[in-house]
Symmetry: C2
Subunit: 346 residues, 2 copies
């Protein structure tokens, strides 16, 4: 009996090893589905515009096109990656900032993995969206449908407003970054390929589409960047039972508690995340006071407002584009730890 | 000894069962990475345009913006889903058609999973792209950078040109679809939310970006739809050693073998996939002859050109948007079987 046990024991051990390595040999995320959808928007009809003749493929004859007719406009676009066994209680929604699209969270301009991967690895189902007018959400003819003309951000404005450095120059070698800049400055031109035009007149349909997204996929957690912040705060105000937390990453717009009722937001924990060199940029100095007032109003009504002030924690050099900075995964981990402390993981 | 064997055998069997169910209990795709990148394009400088003052977030003061400066233009966008253990020898590139973006392959307007999921499930690494000017590739100011103005496809044109049905009407109930239409006609307005504007003057930078994509991620297989076909045929012609097959799904443009040397393409197997009702649409009747001439030229030079003519195989009612039709997975499976027959799976 002892001999047979000695004979079978290694076989049993081998089977158990197979059980472990058989699974371990296929590392990576267990993904249930990747996909996307559009939502929001409406049908718009144009009439009275002149016909045109266009040749769309060189080998084909020209096609006479009539620009009049029905179109969909003001929809938004949402892509998702759903895990087989998410560790988070709710999906994570990643909302981009101004002049940008969901690509903000998908990749880093230096080729590194974006926050989408960081938060997938942390166990979240992730929804990355393009707001109305941006990227795959598409845009509509102006001034017939969108009432104003679009604005295209220059590389100079991005360099300065995103606090990559104080001095722009056409020549990469002459651009001045802040000391110890975390942004991968050599990849700045690559980052500029992500820029998309924006309108200043689409706030209402943008909010409506975000509100529809919350109704469709929440309860959820919203991580929002920059100009997206006002939409996220307002979406949470309208549906505080559906938004389990708002992480405002370098937010640029706030709600005015003297004009709207924010009492419902006390049920929604808020985290503000700030990079470095805010004091060195006049535009940012003008952006901050309404955000401070909003945070104070939230707190005075019993809400939870936490702040990760990276330089105050000894983490220097972060730009406005925290999710693209060299230490982006470190910043994501700080956010993830906060989410865990809010009891949002299983 | 017999007794101990009887004792240990179930343990051993249990360990082996654990080996199997331990893996089987986490169903879904094993994904290594999801991400994206932009490539192609160049820096463009604008000057002499007047300044504007814009308020981008309601709670923030207006910002004076100078539209002059440097921009990136003519880049394309590519997202990818990479598997831990792909079963295909090469990644699959999904290139969209005219007036559309990569969303074509990501989802179906009725909410079903898109071909991206079908081909992921079949074992491919998948790259879904937005060509220059479309979706997340972004677009550039015109006429200063893009030389012409964009064209927005009407819902009527889509209904007719995509051969969903012969008769369009603003009222969904009055629209006439072809008998036995496979397109989910109730979701047509949802499909129209995917439409993006297009230019007729960006063929050169679009081709350049696609060529750069082939250099970056191939060897590969290209599955291309509609207006994308010319770019795919030309990309394969320029790099026949890198493009292991071209699947042209309802292609709308061909190479002219009397004008360009296509001898290199004999190394690249081609598959043409056709839906139904081509004979009922005058535009499609004008599109087909150059494609037939191209296929004949390829064959006459020793190339492999196969065709899946769905109605000839008894599969009726497919539209131009095969990947969104109700039987989209059936069509994907036919393509997958052809890819396997070409020896492109491991």
């Amino acid at each position: 009996m002892h001999n047979l046990y000695q004979t079978l024991a290694p076989v049993l051990a081998g089977a158990l090893a197979l059980a472990l390595t058989g699974c371990a040999s296929t590392p990576g995320l267990q993904i249930k589905e990747v996909g996307s959808f559009h939502l929001g928007g409406k049908q718009v009809t144009l009439s009275g515009l002149p016909e045109k003749e266009l040749r769309f493929t060189p080998s084909s004859p020209p096609i006479k096109v009539n620009p009049n007719g029905e179109f969909e406009a003001e929809q938004m676009y949402v892509q998702y990656v759903l895990q087989s066994a998410p560790k988070a209680k709710h999906p994570l929604l990643l909302w981009h900032g101004g002049g940008l699209a969901g690509v903000t969270f998908e990749t880093k301009p230096d080729g590194g993995a974006g926050w989408q991967m960081d938060f997938l690895n942390a166990g979240h189902d992730v929804y990355v969206s393009d707001a109305v007018e941006r990227g795959r959400a598409s845009w509509a003819r102006y001034p017939e449908i969108f009432s104003s003309e679009p604005f295209f951000r220059t590389k100079k404005e991005g360099w300065e407003l995103f606090r990559i450095g104080p001095t722009w120059d056409t020549e990469p070698a002459k651009r001045v970054a802040y000391p110890g800049a975390q942004f991968p400055t050599a990849a700045y031109d690559q980052f500029a390929k992500q820029f998309v035009p924006r309108w200043a007149t689409n706030n209402a349909p943008t909010q409506a589409a975000y509100d529809a997204l919350v109704q469709k996929v929440c309860p959820c957690v919203i991580v929002v960047h920059s100009q997206g912040s006002t939409f996220a705060f307002e979406a949470a105000r309208k549906a505080p039972q559906l938004v389990k937390a708002v992480v405002a990453v370098e937010p640029s717009g706030a709600l005015d508690a003297t004009k709207v009722d924010i009492t419902g937001l006390k049920a929604v924990p808020h985290l503000f995340v700030w990079g470095d060199n805010l004091d060195k940029n006049a535009t940012w100095q003008s952006i901050l006071p309404p955000l401070r007032r909003f945070a104070d109003a939230l707190k005075s009504q019993g809400g939870l407002v936490d702040t990760i002030d990276l330089p105050a924690q000894g983490i220097q050099g972060n730009s406005h584009m925290l999710m693209m900075d060299k230490n982006s995964s470190q910043v994501a981990a700080l956010i993830q730890a906060w989410l865990a402390r809010q009891g949002l993981m299983r």
